[in-house]
Point group: C2
């Protein structure tokens, strides 16, 4: 078999066989196929497409290109993945919620990049918390506590890592089969038997159109189910930040306050409950959605979910007192409010712009190597459809640099559109179970 012939076949729009895709991945990871052949192939696949079977083959070849986590000793275990967005703190709610209902959660998370945040960064804002668990410790913690959240410590999916770097430099990122196989290969290699996907849609999401988001969700669910994983997806709105807080420590505080019952959960809790309910259903712990919501409501009201978050934090070396006293979380030095200069209805939000604004405050990364400031960010006080009166507070800003505190205001105001009327976005557009 020659890589040349595989490139030629895809270039001419023909369907590749399992052996051809597996050959490409195996030989590429082994260093026997040069980057220039891989990038020519990926461009051909980008333009000519990969069908369902080819995408499944690519996913499985990448999933098997490195270590595969063995979670078999844990019984039924669930994992959850969001395609990323702004103020998308659902993991910090979902993990303790479902774990407190008896469903084990093995969550491998990532870091923030560009306008999107990352769970690992958020968790690291909790004093003492580690997010780098070796596999034995990861499994032991799930057995003991019911949930663990870690970064990748194993050599999972080296093929995906190599291909993603190449795609990032050759304008071949935004292809549904390539995105789906990249995400699902990591989820499959992560070892959980239940995979819950949250595909974001809207201007703060990777997929901006609902049609693309649905196609991505459908593709990923098919791959998961065909690989023997129980997989479901929801498509949820990212045309405004999901929670009110944007910034690492601020988002953790918001999650804690929701679990405390101190703040109305809003859209963030609504999405977290939907994801949690589907996970409980898939596991068989809840017989149907109504039963699942009942269980989750009880876990919230009794504070069992809050306590479970405390247990997870403590197990990973963090100061679990934060769940009762959020003043133990890092706070930025300077705060300031941005108020409305006109009145009207908040009609649209540049959600990606807000993500980039918080990145400029220091809370996010432009490049993977950048260091970040865990305490800075802002609280957005209004949501699309809300009435705004002149002088209403639109944002509370938290900064460690006075100049940035001032300069970010201009960015933030540019991200809001105030009009006479507004159409509220649909929060959960679709679900695939």
């Amino acid at each position: 078999m020659r890589m040349y012939d595989i490139i030629l076949k895809k270039r001419d729009g023909h369907k590749l066989g399992h052996e051809e895709i597996a050959f490409f991945i195996t030989e590429y990871v082994a260093g026997h196929i040069p980057d220039y052949q891989a990038s020519a192939f990926i461009m051909a696949a980008f333009i000519c497409g990969l069908d369902t079977e080819e995408t499944a083959c690519l996913t499985n070849a990448m999933a098997n290109s490195g270590d595969v986590a063995d979670l078999s000793s844990l019984g039924t275990v669930a994992d959850k993945h969001s395609t990323g967005g702004v103020a998308d703190t659902t993991t910090l709610l979902v993990a303790p919620l479902v774990a407190s209902c008896g469903l084990k959660v093995a969550k491998m998370s990532g870091r923030g990049l560009g306008h999107t945040g990352g769970t690992l960064d958020k968790l690291e804002s909790i004093p003492g918390m580690t997010v780098s668990l070796e596999m034995d410790a990861f499994i032991a913690q799930i057995k003991r506590v019911g949930a663990a959240i870690t970064g990748q410590t194993m050599r999972l999916c080296p093929a995906d890592k190599m291909l993603y770097s190449l795609r990032d430099l050759t304008a071949t990122v935004d292809s549904i089969p390539l995105i789906a196989s990249s995400i699902m290969s990591k989820k499959i290699a992560s070892g959980a038997g239940i995979i819950m996907l949250d595909v974001k849609t809207g201007n703060g999401a990777f997929m901006e159109t609902l049609e693309d988001s649905k196609a991505l969700a459908r593709t990923m669910v098919d791959i998961g189910n065909n690989s023997g994983k129980k997989t479901a997806a929801i498509i949820s709105d990212m045309s405004q930040p999901l929670g009110c807080a944007v910034g690492n420590a601020l988002e953790v505080i918001e999650a804690i306050e929701i679990l405390q019952g101190e703040t109305p959960g809003g859209d963030l809790l609504a999405v977290a409950l939907k994801l949690s309910a589907l996970m409980l259903q898939m596991s068989g712990i809840a017989q149907n959605e109504t039963a699942a919501f009942y269980m989750l409501d009880e876990a919230l009201c009794t504070k069992r979910a809050l306590d479970k978050l405390g247990e997870i934090i403590a197990a990973q070396g963090g100061d679990s007192r934060v769940i009762r006293d959020t003043s133990l979380m890092p706070r930025a030095q300077y705060t300031g409010n941005m108020t409305a200069t006109t009145s009207g209805i908040l009609s649209a939000v540049d959600c990606r712009g807000l993500g980039l604004a918080v990145q400029e405050l220091g809370a996010g990364r432009a490049k993977k190597e950048d260091s970040i400031d865990l305490s800075v960010g802002f609280i957005m006080k209004k949501r699309i459809g809300d009435r705004i009166e002149k002088d209403d507070i639109l944002f509370e800003i938290y900064a460690n640099d006075k100049n940035k505190l001032i300069s970010v205001k201009q960015k933030l105001i540019g991200c809001l559109k105030i009009a006479d009327s507004a159409k509220k976005p649909v929060l959960i557009c679709d679900s695939i179970l």
Copy 2:
């Protein structure tokens, strides 16, 4: 400007501007763009296409990526290029023919590869002949003799060299805009003001279909004319070897015998005369095709063309006595005939297969680095449409290895199709002036 954005633009099917294409070529040659970005771009260009303007921009950027020959001291100079085939020895006829009619010829030739032969290899079979002339000597010889044939000694079109190597490994060779720009960039950089193209069509040609051949010819002629070169093309048949002799020394002997008037020139002479006539017309030396053919006929009958070939050979250090005595040319040790086992009409030829058979005898290269045997080959005694009787000689074979002499027969017979009737191919399918 970023290569990423250029790849993205072409990937999405948009038209690139002059600056973008020039940036790609300049930066790629400078080593600032990695191969994996170049190959992704070339694949996008292959699939999405390049329009006439983009192709012209690419050609000129490549033509200017290295040295450009300055032939201005020579006045009107012509060059000629064939897209390659089997027994395509027209250069050895065209150069002395038009030079003996007063049109200067500056010919930069290549070597054989795969099933196709190359003029440089053929010339090297003449004892003493050198085909590696420095620019000063090349120009001086054209001034003195009227024609010179050399390999590339200047750093012409390094961009084309780099891109061709990459295309060869990434299944992006057979694209009309990419082929056209590759050929024409070299012709433009070679410096001649008149460019005569011979685009081959049929199963022994690079372009197998007439439609593709016509499109390639049209594209190249447009590029040439838009670059200020007088450019014309013919599309000629390569569904059987053009001459009767296949193999380096054998082809030189055939060319000499045609110029001597010792052998009917057949299709080989017909194509050479058509090319020569168009060149004389473009140069203004002949007022029309009839006048050109008259001049060429005279050059043949008076042996002025034969003498001119002798002058070219002598100027390049070769033994010019070969034009009177072809026994001075190298001869293979063993000869053998292959005869017909049935009778009928020769209806089709696997021309590529014949080119590969002579390569196996040792006359051609599978890879650029391979060394070749200049004396081996075969003479094909029949042409498509010819009546064949049982025991007629089909091939005279010349070999330096007895086993190969026997084994090649099986290959050769497999390349002929004998039937009850045949349709003779059209020799010159079209011309673009």
